[in-house]
C-alpha cells in the first residue's frame, strides 16, 4: 500500500517548495520473534527469544523491552550493558536517535548487531498496522511517542507476550498503561535486576535535588534554541567550536570563521566543555582582553588576571550549547569525605575537562582505580557536570593501566585482530609463486640492503646503488609490496584503513596490519626473497634525475643493517664488498640531494628526541639514551624523500582528480611572532617571510659559546609549524599542494606501507599507473579518498600525541625513586612562570615564580617589554641556561608531576641548594 506524504516547505530564498515523498506500508515486515507462527521470517532473522524471561524484579511476567528515544539517548551506557536482552528497537526511535546524536546512533547500531543481545530492529513506520499518521495539532514528538506505544501494543497482541515500555516520561508511561502496556522508568527497571554494573551505568539525569556543596549561582541559563537561531541570523550571536585552554582552566577560545573569541572566567565559559559547539555573544570592545599568559590549574579561584602587554582579543561569553560532544573520560574518583555518600567527584585525567559528579556504590573499590566516566549534562545550578560510571580500567599507577589510559585517551584501536581479518592473511609458509615471479622484474641478483634503527622488525624499505658504464648512477628504492597482500575491500584492508597507522609507544608497538605481514612477509629481511615495489632512477654524478622507472619486483636483500653498522661500513675504507660500495654511492648522492633541498628552502628542524632502555622483563625504564644522529639516517631519508616526490609526480599526472598527496601548509606569519621576539632579544634577526629565508636566518643564528642555542631556536621553529596533512588532489586547490617543510611542490607517502595506510593507497595508485594492478571504484572516488584522508590525519595526530604521552609516562616511571640535578634552558618567560626545556630528557617543565607562602610577595618582577623576569640582579631571558633539580611529585596520584626546582642561578628566598629548603611550587605541562 502506498501512502503519499505531501508537504510544503520554504527554502533559503523563501520560495515555497512542494515535496512529495512516497511511503510504502507493507505486510511483509516481520516481528523477529521465535514465538511467532505467523510471520514468514527466516530462522536466522528471528532474534528474539520465544520465552523472554524477566530479569528485573520490577516486572513479573515474561516480556520484550521497548525503549523510547530519550531513554536511549540518556542511557546509552546502560543500554550497552550486556544484562539487558530481548530488546525491540523501533525504527521511529532509531531515526530520532540518528537525528539527535550520531555518536549515540553508532553505539545503538553496534548494540543491534550484537547477537548475544537479542536485539531486533522493527521497521514499524512501514508496517501496515503500526504506521501512525500525525493528528491535527499533534507535535512530532507526541506522534512519535504514540507510534512507539502503538508498535509495543501490536507486539503484545501479535505474540501474546508482554511489552514493557521503558521511558522516563511520566505522561508517556501513563498513556501506555491506559493502553494495557507495562511502562516503567529505566532506572526502576535496572534497580530490579541483579546486575551490579547496570545501575552504576545509569545516567545522572534522574537525580533530584542537588546537594548544598554542589550548588552555585555562577552560571546563567542558556538561551532557548529559537532565541539562538534568531541571534545568529541577526548577526549578534556566533556559533563555533569550543576549545578549552590547556594551561588555564578558566580560559577558552571559540573559533569563528574570521576570528577567535576569548572566553574568560566561569560565568563566560558557562558550562561548555572542550569539544562542544557553542554559541557566543561578543562583549563590547571596552571589555576585550588579552589571553592571560598565566598557568591556572585550580578551579576554585575565579580571578582572571590580565596581561596588559599582549594584544587584545575579542572576548565573549557562552549563551548556548548547540552540540555537546558527549565523550568518555578517564580519571580517578575523589571519594566524598562524608562516609556513606554515594555521590562522588570524578577527576578527569585531562586538565581542561572539569570535575564530574557521579553516583556509585562501589566507591571503596574504585578509590584506587582508573575509571571511565561519561557526562550526562550540566544543570544550571550545579557546580559540576553530572555523569555516570562506565567502567574501571585498573589500579592507578600500574604501568598496564596507565598504558591503557593512554591508548583510550588517544582513541587508538588496540584490540586484537579479529578472526575475519586473520582469515585474509596468506598461509604461514607462503612463498613466491612462479606465476607471480613471471609478472615481476627479478632483482634478486642486485645487491640490495636495508638500513634501519636497531631492533626494527618491520623493514619496509631497502636500497641499492651502483655506477653505470656511462658514469651515471643507478639508484633504487625498494618498498615492501604490501598492496599485494592487502587487497581492496577485504576485511584486512578495512581494518588497516581504520587503524591508519602503526603506533609506536615506548614499550610496545600497535600494528596496523597483523604480525605475519608486518614482521615477516612484508618485512624486507636480509637473505630472504620478498615482493617489492621498486622505484629506480638513473642519476647523474650531480644527483640529477635522468630517468625514473617504477616496477613491481622480487628482491633478496643482501643485508639488513642498522644505521650504526651502515655508518661503520661506509667509513671503513678497507671494506670493498658490494654492500659497502653501494652504500658509499648512496651516501655521496644523498649529500648532494640534501644540499640541493636545503638550498631550495627546506627546513631542518629539531625536536628533542630520547629513547628509554627498557628492562625486557619488568618493562621498567632503566636509562635514558638520546637518539644518536648518524649520517646514514639522513642518507636513507634523502632517498625516501626522492622516492616520495617522484611517486607523487607520477600519480598526480595519471590521476589528477584522486591522487592521495601530502601537503604542509605555510604557517601564518603571526605564528612566528614568539620565535622572532625571543631571537630578537638575543640579538638575532629571524626572517620568516619565506621558508628559504627562515632556513637561512636559522643557519646564521649561532652563538659561538652556546652550541645548544641554535637547537633551541629550531625547537621553537618546530612549534610554529602547522600539521602536515593528507589530502585528495581532486578536493584541494592546486596552489595548496605545497609542502612547506620540505620545500617540495608536491609530496606523498610511498615508502612505509607496512605502517601507514596512506602508502598502501599510493601503492595502489602507482600500480594502476604502470598497469601492474587494476583500479577499483573507491580508489578513483575523490570524495571517498578525502574521507579516508580525514581519518588518516586524525589517526596520525593521535599516534603522535600517544607516542609523546608514552615517553612522558616512562619519564615519570624513571623518576619515581630519583632526584637529579639537570641542566635546562628557558624556553619561554611567562608572567608568573618560566618554561624550561631539559635537553637530556627532551621534556619541558614549568617553574612557577611565586613564593609558596601566599602572604609574601613574589621576589620576581616581570618586564613585559622584553619578556624577562628579574629578582634582584638575576635576570631571566629566554634561552638562558639554568640548573634545576628534577624529582617526581606523587602527591596527586592522577597527575604524577615532574617537579623542577631552581638551583642555579641563585635567587635568595626562591632557589634551593641541593639539600636546602624547598620553596617553589612547580609542575610540568607536558602531561
Amino acid at each position: 500500500m502506498l501512502k503519499q506524504k505531501t508537504f510544503f516547505r520554504t527554502n533559503k530564498k523563501g520560495d515555497i517548495l512542494k515535496v512529495v515523498r512516497e511511503h510504502y506500508l507493507r505486510e511483509d515486515i516481520w516481528c523477529g520473534s521465535r514465538a511467532c507462527g505467523v510471520c514468514k521470517a527466516k530462522d536466522n532473522e528471528k532474534v528474539l527469544d520465544a520465552k523472554p524471561k524477566s530479569k528485573s524484579a520490577a516486572v513479573g511476567e515474561d516480556h520484550y523491552i521497548f525503549l523510547d528515544t530519550n531513554a536511549i539517548l540518556d542511557q546509552i551506557d546502560a543500554l550497552e550493558d550486556p544484562h539487558l536482552t530481548n530488546l525491540v528497537i523501533l525504527q521511529t526511535v532509531m531515526e530520532e536517535v540518528k537525528h539527535r546524536s550520531s555518536a549515540a546512533y553508532k553505539r545503538l547500531h553496534e548494540v543491534t548487531l550484537d547477537k548475544s543481545r537479542k536485539c531486533y530492529v522493527f521497521v514499524n513506520e512501514h508496517r501496515f498496522e503500526t504506521f501512525v499518521e500525525r493528528k491535527q495539532g499533534e507535535t512530532t514528538n507526541d506522534r512519535n511517542d504514540r507510534a512507539i506505544r502503538v508498535a509495543a501494543l501490536w507486539y503484545q497482541n501479535h505474540l501474546h507476550i508482554k511489552s514493557v515500555l521503558l521511558t522516563d516520561d511520566a505522561e508517556n508511561r501513563r498513556k501506555a498503561q491506559e493502553m494495557g502496556l507495562i511502562a516503567k522508568p529505566l532506572s526502576e527497571y535496572a534497580e530490579g535486576t541483579d546486575s551490579p554494573t547496570l545501575c552504576e551505568r545509569l545516567s545522572s539525569k534522574r537525580w533530584g535535588e542537588l546537594r548544598d556543596e554542589d550548588q552555585t549561582k555562577a552560571y546563567t541559563p542558556h538561551l532557548p534554541m529559537s532565541a539562538i537561531q534568531a541571534g545568529i541570523k541577526a548577526g549578534k550571536l556566533f556559533k563555533g567550536p569550543y576549545f578549552a585552554s590547556r594551561d588555564n582552566c578558566l580560559e577558552a577560545t571559540v573559533k569563528l570563521d574570521k576570528r577567535d573569541v576569548l572566553l574568560q572566567g566561569k560565568a563566560s565559559l558557562n558550562r561548555a566543555i572542550d569539544g562542544d559547539t557553542v554559541v557566543v555573544e561578543i562583549l563590547p570592545e571596552s571589555e576585550w582582553k588579552a589571553p592571560s599568559n598565566l598557568v591556572v590549574t585550580s578551579e576554585d579561584t575565579d580571578d582572571v588576571l590580565e596581561d596588559a602587554s599582549a594584544e587584545k582579543q575579542p572576548t565573549g561569553r557562552v549563551v548556548g550549547i548547540i552540540n555537546r560532544k558527549f565523550q568518555q573520560f578517564c580519571g580517578i574518583l575523589q571519594v566524598s569525605p562524608v562516609a556513606g555518600h554515594t555521590r562522588h567527584l570524578f577527576v578527569p585525567a585531562k586538565r581542561h575537562i572539569p570535575k564530574i559528579r557521579i553516583e556509585t556504590r562501589q566507591s571503596e573499590r574504585l578509590a584506587d582505580q582508573r575509571i571511565v566516566v561519561a557526562i550526562d549534562g550540566w544543570p544550571v545550578e550545579s557546580k559540576y557536570p553530572q555523569g555516570h560510571f562506565v567502567r574501571a580500567l585498573g589500579k592507578i599507577g600500574d604501568q598496564e593501566t596507565e598504558n591503557e589510559v593512554l591508548l583510550l585517551e588517544h582513541d587508538i584501536p588496540c584490540y586484537k585482530f579479529s578472526e575475519a581479518v586473520l582469515a585474509d592473511l596468506p598461509d604461514n609458509d607462503w612463498t613466491i609463486s612462479d606465476e607471480e615471479l613471471a609478472k615481476r622484474q627479478n632483482l634478486k641478483n642486485i645487491v640490495i640492503c636495508s638500513v634501519d634503527p636497531p631492533g626494527c622488525t618491520d623493514i619496509d624499505d631497502a636500497l641499492h646503488c651502483f655506477e653505470l658504464p656511462n658514469g651515471n648512477y643507478e639508484a633504487g628504492v625498494h618498498i615492501a609490496d604490501v598492496s599485494h597482500f592487502i587487497r581492496p575491500g577485504t576485511n584486512i584492508d578495512k581494518e588497516a584503513a581504520h587503524r591508519a597507522t602503526t603506533v609506536y609507544l615506548t614499550d610496545q608497538r600497535i600494528d596496523m596490519v597483523p604480525d605475519l605481514l608486518s614482521s615477516n612477509l612484508c618485512s624486507l629481511r636480509g637473505g630472504e626473497e620478498r615482493l617489492a615495489f621498486s622505484c629506480v632512477w638513473e642519476l647523474s654524478p650531480q644527483a640529477e634525475i635522468i630517468s625514473t622507472r617504477y616496477h613491481k619486483s622480487v628482491i633478496k636483500s643482501a643485508a639488513a643493517l642498522t644505521y650504526g653498522e651502515a655508518q661503520a661500513k661506509i667509513e671503513d675504507d678497507t671494506d670493498q664488498t658490494a654492500v659497502a660500495t653501494s652504500l658509499r654511492c648512496l651516501y655521496k648522492l644523498a649529500k648532494i640531494l640534501k644540499q640541493r633541498r636545503i638550498d631550495n628552502g627546506a627546513l631542518t628542524l629539531a625536536s628533542p628526541e630520547i629513547r628509554f632502555r627498557i628492562d625486557p622483563k619488568t618493562k621498567e625504564p632503566l636509562e635514558v639514551v638520546a637518539k644518536p644522529l648518524l649520517g646514514t639516517m639522513s642518507m636513507v631519508e634523502e632517498f625516501m624523500l626522492l622516492a616520495n616526490v617522484s611517486v607523487a609526480e607520477k600519480i598526480l599526472l595519471e590521476f589528477p582528480e584522486c591522487a592521495l598527496l601530502r601537503r604542509h601548509p605555510e604557517p601564518p606569519p603571526m605564528n612566528f611572532d614568539p620565535l622572532i621576539k625571543a631571537a630578537g632579544h638575543q640579538g638575532f634577526n629571524i626572517d620568516a617571510s619565506t621558508g628559504k629565508n627562515l632556513s637561512l636566518s636559522l643557519d646564521n643564528a649561532v652563538k659561538e659559546n652556546d652550541p645548544y642555542f641554535n637547537t633551541m631556536l629550531r625547537i621553537l621553529t618546530t612549534r610554529c609549524m602547522q600539521q602536515a596533512l593528507y589530502f585528495s588532489s581532486g578536493m584541494t586547490q592546486k596552489e595548496m599542494f605545497f609542502h612547506y617543510g620540505l620545500a617540495a611542490p608536491i609530496y606523498t607517502h610511498f615508502t612505509s606501507p607496512i605502517r601507514r595506510y596512506s602508502d598502501v593507497i599510493v601503492h595502489r595508485l602507482l600500480a594502476a599507473c604502470i598497469g601492474a594492478d587494476v583500479t577499483y571504484s573507491d580508489l578513483l572516488d575523490k570524495r571517498k579518498t578525502d574521507d579516508l584522508c580525514g581519518n588518516l590525519n586524525y589517526r596520525k595526530r593521535m599516534a603522535q600525541y600517544a607516542a609523546r604521552a608514552s615517553v612522558m609516562l616512562h619519564t615519570h616511571l624513571f623518576f619515581r625513586n630519583k632526584t637529579e640535578l639537570e641542566e635546562g634552558y628557558i624556553l619561554f618567560v611567562k608572567k608568573n612562570a618560566l618554561q624550561i626545556l631539559i635537553p637530556k630528557y627532551g621534556l619541558e617543565g614549568t617553574v612557577i615564580l611565586s613564593s609558596k607562602d601566599k602572604n609574601k610577595p613574589s621576589p620576581f618582577e616581570y618586564n613585559s617589554d622584553n619578556h624577562t623576569q628579574s629578582a634582584g640582579d638575576v635576570v631571566f631571558h629566554s634561552f638562558d641556561r639554568v640548573v634545576v633539580q628534577m624529582s617526581l611529585d606523587r602527591s596527586n596520584v592522577q597527575h604524577e608531576k615532574l617537579q623542577l626546582k631552581l638551583v642555579e642561578p641563585e635567587v635568595p628566598g626562591f632557589s634551593i641548594t641541593t639539600e636546602g629548603e624547598l620553596v617553589p611550587a612547580v609542575e610540568d605541562t607536558c602531561g
Binding site: 512516497e22 530492529v121 583500479t775 571517498k784
Partner: protein
C-alpha cells in the same frame, strides 16, 4: 481508471536495516516503484496514455499518423513517416513552480533522446509521407522522468494503432552505498548522489535502444548496474504488457487480442 500493481516481494530483515540507512521509502533494491497506467486518457487524441511511476506522473498524446501539412513539406521523407516528438514539463511538476520556456535545453535534450528510442520501434517505412506527433507532458517529476515518458509513449502509440516492432521500455538503475545496485531511482535517491544509469530496451529481442549515464561509473560496477536496469525493464514490460492486454480486453479488439 485502470490500475496495475506489481506484486511486491517479501522484505528481509537485512534489507530493512539497509533501506533505513539509505533513506529510501522502504522499497527493496530490486523493487520497482508502484506503476499505475491507463490507456486512452485523452479523448480527442488518436492515442493517449497516463502513467504513474511512483510519484512521477506523465501524460502522453499521440496524433497521427496523418498526412503532412503543406507548411512542413520540407520535412517530408517520402520513404517513411516523420516522427515529431515533444517533451515538456508542466509548470507545477517540480518542487518549485517554474514558467516553461519554449526552448528549454533540458526539454530539448529529452525530446531528442525520446525520438531516438521511438525511432527504433516505430515501423515508419510502412507509413510514407505521414507524420506522427508524440506529445509528452510531465505532470509530476519525481525521478525517472525519461522512463515514465518513454513507457507512456509506447502505450499511447499502441493506443493510436501505430505499427510497432515491439515495445520499447526504459528503466533506471543506480548504486546504493556505492555497492548495492538498485532499480528505478526516485528523485530523493537521485539527490542522495551516486551515478544513475538509464536504459531503454526492446524487451523481446533484448536490444538496447538508448543508454545514458548521469555521472561516470567505475567499470567494475557497470555490468551489475546494467543488468539491474535491464531486469527492471523486463519487470516493467510485464506490467505494461499486462495493462495493454487488460485494456483491449475491456474495449474489445478485432483479433481477440488480449482475450486468449
Amino acid at each position: 481508471m485502470l490500475f496495475v500493481f506489481l506484486k511486491r516481494n517479501e522484505l528481509e530483515l537485512n534489507d530493512a536495516l539497509f533501506l533505513q540507512s539509505t533513506g529510501t521509502c522502504c522499497r527493496k533494491p530490486n523493487e520497482l516503484r508502484i506503476v499505475r497506467c491507463k490507456l486512452g486518457a485523452v479523448p480527442h487524441a488518436d492515442g493517449s496514455s497516463y502513467l504513474e511511476l511512483g510519484n512521477t506522473k506523465v501524460l502522453v498524446s499521440v496524433f497521427g499518423p496523418y498526412e503532412v501539412r503543406s507548411n512542413h513539406r520540407s520535412k517530408i521523407m517520402s520513404e517513411s513517416a516523420f516522427i515529431n516528438c515533444q517533451y515538456s514539463m508542466a509548470p507545477f511538476s517540480k518542487q518549485d513552480r517554474r514558467t516553461p520556456r519554449p526552448r528549454d535545453k533540458k526539454n530539448m535534450e529529452m525530446t531528442i533522446n525520446l525520438h531516438q528510442a521511438l525511432k527504433s520501434v516505430i515501423r515508419a517505412e510502412l507509413l510514407p509521407r505521414t507524420q506522427i506527433d508524440v506529445m509528452v507532458e510531465v505532470l509530476t517529476a519525481d525521478g525517472g522522468n525519461y522512463c515514465a515518458a518513454l513507457n507512456a509513449s509506447t502505450l499511447a502509440l499502441i493506443d493510436a494503432g501505430v505499427p510497432l516492432r515491439e515495445y520499447v521500455i526504459a528503466c533506471t538503475a543506480s548504486l546504493a552505498k556505492g555497492e548495492v545496485p538498485m532499480v528505478d531511482i526516485s528523485h530523493l535517491e537521485e539527490t542522495l548522489g551516486g551515478p544513475c544509469l538509464t536504459v531503454a530496451m526492446l524487451p523481446t529481442s533484448k536490444q538496447i535502444a538508448f543508454t545514458e549515464m548521469s555521472q561516470r561509473f567505475h567499470v567494475d560496477h557497470l555490468e551489475k548496474v546494467m543488468a539491474t536496469a535491464q531486469k527492471g525493464c523486463e519487470d516493467m514490460y510485464k506490467i505494461i504488457n499486462n495493462a495493454v492486454r487488460l485494456y483491449f480486453k475491456e474495449i474489445g479488439f478485432p483479433n481477440n487480442f488480449g482475450q486468449e
